[in-house]
């Protein structure tokens, strides 16, 4: 046991105090036949030195890339050094859920500030203190809408991240809610088809913007065709909130998604930062922790977990969600990230990502073996194209230049063979773009 042990003498004294001779006696209420006879084999114990050297060996089998042109719900952005510095503070990361507000004002105020920032970005008045990730937050948002209007149908755009759709299916499977997919037309929501749907039994309409293929959706038009179903706006690249019409302006009453782009590293997919914001009528259906401001008994401003009566530890089976632990530390990182960048910094990051993606598309458009999907539709920092390339040649030349290339969409749907999703952020320089374009050219069939 490397991190702590009692001295032999302490153990002896403590046992004596308890009237026991051996530690094993403390476990006597486990029936003898259930006690482990043969210990299972697991590696260890290892000293800290051995541990680190083993992990360094393992890391030789993991490739990190200089240039990443892959996103699809996980984006590499610049993270200011101060974000890591603050989130390394034990005062934050070794604390738990602020059950005792008197010794948790740091966490509570930070969450309150985070909620304010998410509310500002989405235009919706209420934000919670985080969810697990974008996919599970989307499923929870659909459940909020269902608890709100008790209608048994969800319309989801075919432009929502395929993994989000899978998770939605998993969450809703046993609720009796029917999920109806609205296929895209020419890369975006098919407004005509949407308008043909009878909305009277539709609980929510779930749209991702920018959508999974990178295109911008006409959110106000979608709202018009959604009747009085709840419009759920799912963000994709969350930086877009700094620039695009807000979910509130678009008429959404719930916004959710993954705020990974706000200061969370890629980290092979987690932990990220699920979030939900909503209009006030959904406040009591919002899952998870919500931090509120109040006063203490000396009249001093203070923060507490508010409206806990919504939650599982009080409401048990009548709670609208079972969430307990959330992703608070990711929210701390987001709060620091957004405070450092400010409005202008965040806009710069977002617009640079947009610019880099458009430059990349422009450069690719000179090639004969690239065929864009809907080449004239507005997009954010992702776009998709069909490439006529030799896969092996392509991947070898990317590898040579330490580039993680665009994502093959056949991963999600075999009918998308040879289609790729390109992503750029402010991290992609001109040189990397040129190398990628060169690689596409070289691999031409």
């Amino acid at each position: 046991m490397p991190y702590f042990d009692h001295s032999d003498n302490d153990v002896k004294e403590m046992l004596k105090y308890l009237g026991k001779n051996k530690v094993e006696e403390l476990f006597f209420s486990i029936p003898q036949e259930l006690v482990i006879k043969t210990p299972p084999i697991i590696t260890g114990p290892l000293s800290e030195q051995e541990l680190l050297s083993s992990i360094e060996d393992t890391l030789e089998d993991a490739t990190t890339y200089k240039e990443i042109f892959r996103g699809a719900g996980a984006y590499r952005h610049f993270i200011p050094a101060a974000v890591d510095e603050i989130s390394s503070r034990q005062e934050y990361y070794t604390a738990y859920t602020p059950y005792q507000p008197e010794v948790s004002q740091g966490s509570l105020q930070t969450m309150f500030e985070y909620q304010t920032m998410m509310s500002e970005l989405t235009g919706l008045p209420v934000a919670n203190a985080s969810m697990y990730d974008g996919a599970s937050a989307t499923a929870e948002a659909a459940l909020m809408a269902w608890h709100f209007n008790r209608r048994n149908k969800v319309i989801i755009s075919g432009g929502v991240h395929p993994e989000y759709l899978t998770v939605l299916n998993t969450y809703l499977k046993n609720t009796g809610i029917k999920i109806e997919m609205l296929p895209l037309k020419e890369g975006t929501v098919d407004l005509q088809k949407l308008s043909a749907i009878d909305m009277s039994d539709v609980s929510s309409v779930i749209i991702q913007n920018p959508n999974f293929l990178g295109f911008l959706e006409k959110m106000k038009d979608i709202k018009k065709q959604s009747g009085n179903a709840v419009l759920i706006y799912v963000t994709n690249e969350t930086h877009s909130l700094a620039v695009l019409q807000t979910p509130a302006e678009a008429g959404a009453s719930i916004c959710c998604g993954d705020a990974q782009s706000f200061g969370q590293p890629l980290a092979f997919g987690g932990p990220y930062l699920g979030f939900i914001t909503c209009s006030e009528e959904f406040l009591h259906l919002l899952p998870g922790r919500i931090i509120g401001a109040t006063y203490d008994h000396h009249g001093k401003r203070a923060f507490v977990m508010a409206l806990a009566a919504r939650e599982q530890h009080i409401r048990r089976e009548r709670a609208t969600s079972n969430i307990c632990s959330n992703h608070a530390m990711s929210a701390v990182r987001a709060a620091v990230y957004l405070s450092l960048l400010g409005t202008d910094g965040l806009k710069s990051a977002a617009l640079l990502s947009v610019k880099r993606a458009h430059e990349l598309k422009e450069a690719l458009s000179t090639l004969k073996n690239v065929e864009f999907i809907e080449k004239d539709k507005p997009f954010f920092n992702e776009f998709s194209a069909k490439l006529k390339i030799n896969d092996r040649v392509f991947s070898e030349s990317l590898q040579k230049h330490s580039i993680l290339g665009p994502l093959e969409l056949s991963r999600f749907n075999s009918s998308f063979k040879n289609y790729y999703l390109f992503t750029a952020t402010e991290m992609n320089g001109r040189a990397g773009t040129e190398l990628l374009v060169e690689a596409v050219k070289e691999a031409s069939l």
């Binding site: 991190y3 302490d10 209420s29 486990i30 259930l34 590696t43 260890g44 114990p45 290892l46 992990i55 393992t58 890391l59 030789e60 089998d61 990190t64 890339y65 719900g73 996980a74 390394s88 034990q90 859920t97 602020p98 059950y99 005792q100 008197e102 010794v103 740091g106 309150f112 500030e113 920032m117 509310s119 500002e120 235009g123 985080s130 990730d133 599970s136 459940l143 989000y164 998770v167 046993n174 620039v243 890629l266 932990p271 919500i290 509120g292 401001a293 001093k300 203070a302 508010a306 009566a309 599982q312 409401r315 632990s325 990711s330 701390v332 400010g342 409005t343 947009v354 458009h358 507005p378």
Partner: protein, 488 residues
């Protein structure tokens, strides 16, 4: 820091034109048609880097964490978070990996995930595992969805889930999310499952019984073999809530005692930081007959190559989240297990149980105990006697504890114990720390008798005292008011 002055909100420190330089400036919106753009920019703070850092450093200092002092929050296992794990989790080689990289480029990462899965199965005595769930409650949801899929595949999803009245709130909330009715079982006088009650409620409508063992009172359900027999005889499944796994490592494996599914709270037993509320990780290990229903993909190995296994896609419950799991949390748990080895994990549980029993004996004479049974890694006491005698209640006691630079126990849980104090010191506290905790408790009980008024007003030395929660609920203020206007 002057304790009488609030730390300003970051928005209150904001002034136009103050900002850092992190990213090259770009204001070019020409790529996006104007109808798609927002009307007004968001009002984020405009504060220079040094002031941002000072703000969050000052805020952080208002917190109590494990690295500052004892944190015996029952059911939460607030143990020390080893620093080597923090160091490794910050390696660039981990943080820069994209989840959609090709498997060949992340063999080392898949190896870590695979081996962690193998270790957790060995520790719990199970046959298969998913690492996807992001937290304990997320693991429960995964488990009960699998339970439902299992029964459905046998022709009938069944209608009810049984939970003891001492269970965590997440158990019944999870069951409800999966479309089940919840039947609560009243515990017997010693705080454990009453076999007669179970027998009466267990029928072929019951999909599963969810329990923790030891239970939330810290008591081992020693009739577990009978419980398992009763549940399985009617075709039900037995679910193990792993919140209390820190009590039994090296002594008992849920898989050997009839459990079909187990979730782990890696942020409890396996030392990953609690992070002011998360992220944690809640892997779920299962017996063979549940493997077809595991979320896809799982991580598998051919012996010399590691890969994501989608082979159960047709029968799987689907996915619980995007990508594969909270990798940086899983990594820390992996390192913790290897640093300890099996012998270290066994020692962990031994000292956790020793510490809890020692502290219990030191302080219990002041309180009433809801059960006379032996306890494991945590214990529950009731302050009902103190309340009756002095008017000082559990809340008062817990608030006063904060004045001594240590954290209060979990209070008013489990719900079956009035004026409950639920104490879990964990193994990473010295005898001196436990003695100090006991001393403080004596002092507070003496104060309750001599000066109860002071306790009603406690705490006295914390940055704030007794925030008005009723007001926060009646008039919710959930974001900063009157944000400074940003001038264009």
């Amino acid at each position: 820091m002057n304790p009488n002055v609030n730390e300003k909100l970051i928005f209150e420190m904001s002034k136009k034109g103050r900002s850092g330089s992190f990213i090259p400036e770009c204001t070019d919106t020409s790529c996006i048609p104007s109808e798609y753009l927002r009307d007004k920019p968001p009002k984020l703070p405009s504060v220079p880097e040094n002031e941002v850092v000072r703000h969050f450093v000052r805020l952080s200092m208002l917190n109590h964490g494990v690295d500052k002092g004892t944190y015996p929050l029952g059911s939460c296992t607030m143990k020390y978070n080893p620093k080597v794990n923090e160091k490794a989790a910050r390696f660039k080689a981990f943080s820069n990996l994209h989840p959609y990289q090709d498997e060949d480029s992340v063999q080392g990462i898949l190896k870590i995930l695979y081996e962690l899965g193998e270790d957790l199965q060995a520790i719990s005595g199970m046959d298969g595992i998913t690492l996807q769930p992001a937290a304990g409650a997320h693991g429960e949801l995964t488990g009960i969805l699998m339970c439902r899929a299992f029964h459905t595949s046998n022709g009938n999803p069944r209608v009810k889930i049984l939970v003891p009245d001492s269970s965590h709130g997440t158990n019944p909330a999870t069951a409800a999310m999966c479309g089940y009715k919840v039947q609560t079982l009243k515990s017997n006088n010693s705080g454990t499952i009453d076999i007669d009650t179970l027998n009466k409620n267990m029928d072929e409508d019951v999909a599963a019984l969810m329990i923790t063992n030891p239970n939330t009172l810290g008591i081992f359900e020693n009739e577990i073999s009978d419980i398992s027999e009763i549940v399985h005889r009617k075709g039900g499944l037995l679910y193990y809530d792993g919140a209390n796994m820190n009590a039994i490592m090296g002594y008992m494996r849920p898989g050997d005692t009839g459990f079909d599914m187990v979730h782990f709270n890696l942020h409890k037993t396996f030392s990953t930081p609690h992070g002011t509320g998360g992220p944690g990780a809640g892997p779920v290990a299962v017996k063979k007959h549940i493997i077809p229903f595991l979320p896809y993909p799982t991580v598998n190995s051919t012996g010399d190559r590691y890969f994501f296994d989608y082979s159960n896609r047709q029968t799987s419950i689907g996915k619980m989240r995007a990508f594969y799991g909270n990798f940086l949390v899983l990594l820390r748990a992996y390192l913790y297990i290897r640093a300890n080895g099996y012998s270290g994990l066994k020692r962990t549980s031994e000292l956790a149980v020793l510490n809890a029993n020692y502290l219990k004996k030191k302080i219990s004479h002041n309180f009433t105990a809801p059960s006379s049974r032996d306890t494991f890694h945590e214990f529950v006491l009731s302050a009902q006697n103190i309340k009756k005698e002095t008017g000082v209640n559990t809340l008062d006691i817990s608030k006063r504890i904060l004045d001594f630079g240590i954290h209060a126990p979990t209070i008013y849980f489990p719900l079956i114990v009035k004026e409950a104090l639920m104490v879990e010191p964990t193994e990473t506290e010295t005898k001196e720390n436990l003695d100090f905790y006991a001393e403080i408790m004596e002092k507070i009980i003496a104060e309750a008798r001599s000066n109860p008024e002071e306790l009603h007003k406690a705490p006295h030395k914390t940055p704030v005292s007794r925030p008005d929660e009723v007001r926060a609920n009646r008039r919710p203020i959930l974001k900063a008011l009157s944000l400074p206007e940003k001038e264009d």
